[in-house]
Amino acid sequence: AAKGSWCPGCGVAALAPGAQRDALLALAKQSILAKLRLPARPDSPQPQNRGALLTALRRMREQRSETAATFPGMLRDGPVPGRAGMELQEYEILSFAESGSSTPRSVHLHFRFSQEVIGSTEILQATLYLFWAAPGAQPVTVRLLQPHPAGPNATVASETRLEVQRPGWSTLDVGAAVRSLFGHETPRLTVELEVPQDWGSPLPSNHSDSHWPFVVAQARARKPHRLHRR
């Protein structure tokens, strides 16, 4: 509304400039949180080491271009038009490993996912990234563990023997395992790495290493269920 007059649409008196700015800032916060399906802004996030974050974002971009080349139309830059022009929001989620119990030759890695995203999206693809500084000739065993519904133990959902030919990154498709987290109250993917005798530790020496393991998941908002009245 022009200054000192009424809004022709809603009849509300024009706000004083300060009050108008506060109202718009409140609207911006509400709008962004609603679109991100967040009940409130996340509290005190633990920033990841910058080197690890940049390495992972670079890998994310490479995976995105590989996916686009392999499955044209599967991922697009920007929202995907859904039915009747409704745009389906896409997410790329980057989860860094939290190290769990370990022995000299094996380690448990935990990758957490937020309920908001897992619960409201369909996982299109998820890839585990592992870095090997000095691989040996024998394969590494990677087990994906499922929490046991009845107790604290975990069952092996899948086991893969990974051939590592040379130092560097290797990847493993964990899409099915991440999809299976749907419905869990605290969605968490657990991976067990077991390396042969003559290898070094399965993990970099410290958490801030830029070669820290991570999972990249690509997800798309679920289509809302539409009820058709007959």
């Binding site: 718009l24 800032l25 967040l38 996340p42 633990q46 929202p79 929001q89 997410y91 980057l94 996912f113």
Partner: protein
């Protein structure tokens, strides 16, 4: 579309930038630094209805004459966004994962009258 000036009365795009640091969100939103929450405001008298939806042509001129002639009996149209684009965000979720997403139709690029 028209960007609003200091004394714009007609339908225009009002720029409004939300600085995430100003609202204390810079710790969980990694990029960008703020959000252009532009909005549309201003009057849409009858002779502006449909602009810029219609090409500036003879038909537009005739249509405007008809609308102006019947202005007494008609109501104004609305000033709404005519072009929008996504807001790309990189942020920490509550598990300190990094999430990248494009929220559709969040940034108004231009406004017009319905």
């Amino acid at each position: 579309g028209v960007d609003c000036g200091a004394d714009s009365r007609m339908c225009c795009r009002q720029e409004f930038f939300v600085d995430f640091k100003e609202i204390g969100w810079e710790d969980w939103i990694i990029q960008p630094e703020g959000y252009h929450m532009n909005y549309c405001s201003g009057l849409c008298p009858l002779h502006m209805a449909g602009i810029p939806g219609l090409a500036a042509s003879f038909h537009t001129a005739v249509l405007n004459r008809i609308k102006a002639a019947s202005a007494a009996a008609a109501v104004d149209s609305c000033c709404v966004p005519t072009q929008r684009r996504p807001l790309s965000l990189l942020y920490y979720d509550r598990d300190s994962n990094i999430v990248k997403t494009d929220i559709p139709d969040m940034i108004v690029d231009s406004c017009g009258c319905t």
